[in-house]
């Protein structure tokens, strides 16, 4: 089994609902209900962290480091959150999240058949996302 840097990708809308979930790892595959629950959990934690911050102007959690995984989160100006669960110490995750955000703005937001805040069902988004992840994986293994 190839070395997988990314375990999963979540995209949540501004009210905390899960609109996209993709699992890349062989371990820890969860069903729909669990992923929905996790997404709203993360949304709440992200919001609470902004209140807890000792300095003003905090925009929420960017990185969560645990014993055997990292969680990188990117929040757009509109409140849509992209977060990826990856192995510890995986490089360039922020860059990857930005690229995924760009794919989102291109293939989801410019799609006339996509309803805002609804689950993402866009073929082009899936195709291009798979290509980006694959390229990222190849780059990682190549070094």
């Amino acid at each position: 089994m190839a070395l997988v840097a990314i375990y999963s990708l979540f995209i949540i809308n501004k009210s905390g609902g899960l609109i996209y979930y993709k699992d890349y790892g062989s371990a820890g595959r969860m069903d729909t209900n669990d992923s929905l629950r996790l997404a709203s959990l993360w949304h709440s934690m992200h919001a609470i962290s902004q209140q807890l911050s000792p300095t003003p102007g905090c925009t929420g959690i960017d990185l969560l480091q645990a014993h055997n995984f990292d969680l990188h989160c990117f929040q757009s100006l509109t409140g849509t959150k992209f977060f990826v669960v990856c192995e510890t110490g995986a490089p360039n995750m922020e860059m990857l999240l930005k690229v995924i955000y760009e794919l989102y703005t291109d293939f989801v937001l410019k799609n006339p058949f996509y309803e805002m805040e609804m689950p993402i069902r866009c073929e082009l988004f899936d195709l291009n996302l798979a290509q980006v992840i694959q390229k990222d994986r190849v780059a990682l293994l190549g070094r």
Partner: protein, 194 residues
């Protein structure tokens, strides 16, 4: 207009020369505008055929104007009278001005004499659009088909133009073909001209 310096003031706006205009427009801006056009028409219709027809009508208006503009700008007001002439005009000049590149290919239909096809790997208007499965064979390229129809009709070559997805083996995304079916009179005239 803000901040526009004019070299020479014209007394009558009709005397001003036609500018070449901005050659390029932001793709994102166009994509959003087109997306809104599709969404708006979706709210006005009950079925997919109706939606395709509306997009075609929108394209028809564009085609008519583009023909006038390009005849003046590119071809020095010469008029195409031959079938192959107008087809290659659409395939190269119109496509270049609208989409920044010439169309991938122009073919004559093998089954019928009156059918021609312009193929494109992926139409510019469809670049960001993923049609949901429940809409069947709907293609937003109907807009481009309307543009072609507008150009042909106003140049004196009435035709029925439609856009189709053609799946290709070994490729995930299907190619798009604009199918042009000319009216009887066009073929008769073409035959008469020799």
């Amino acid at each position: 207009m803000i901040g526009v310096g004019k070299a020479k003031q014209y007394a009558n706006v009709l005397d001003k020369p036609l500018s070449r205009g901005r050659q390029e427009v932001s793709l994102s801006a166009f994509a959003f505008l087109f997306s809104e056009l599709v969404q708006f028409n979706q709210t006005q219709v009950d079925n997919i055929a109706e939606l395709e027809r509306r997009l075609e009508d929108a394209g028809y208006a564009v085609g008519a104007r583009v023909l006038e503009l390009l005849c003046h700008r590119e071809k020095g007001n010469r008029r195409e009278t031959r079938l192959l002439g107008i087809l290659s005009f659409i395939h190269s000049t119109v496509w270049k001005v609208l989409f920044g590149k010439v169309a991938d290919s122009l073919e004559k239909g093998t089954e019928h004499e009156d059918e021609y096809m312009i193929s494109e790997k992926e139409l510019l208007v469809n670049r960001f659009i993923s049609v949901p499965k429940d809409m069947g064979a709907f293609n937003c390229g109907a807009f481009v088909a309307g543009i072609v129809k507008g150009v042909l009709d106003n140049a004196g070559f009435p035709a029925v133009v439609t856009a189709h997805f053609v799946p290709i083996e070994g490729q995930q995304r299907p190619r798009t073909t604009i199918l042009i079916k000319f009216a009887e009179e066009v073929l008769h005239r073409e035959a008469r001209l020799g």
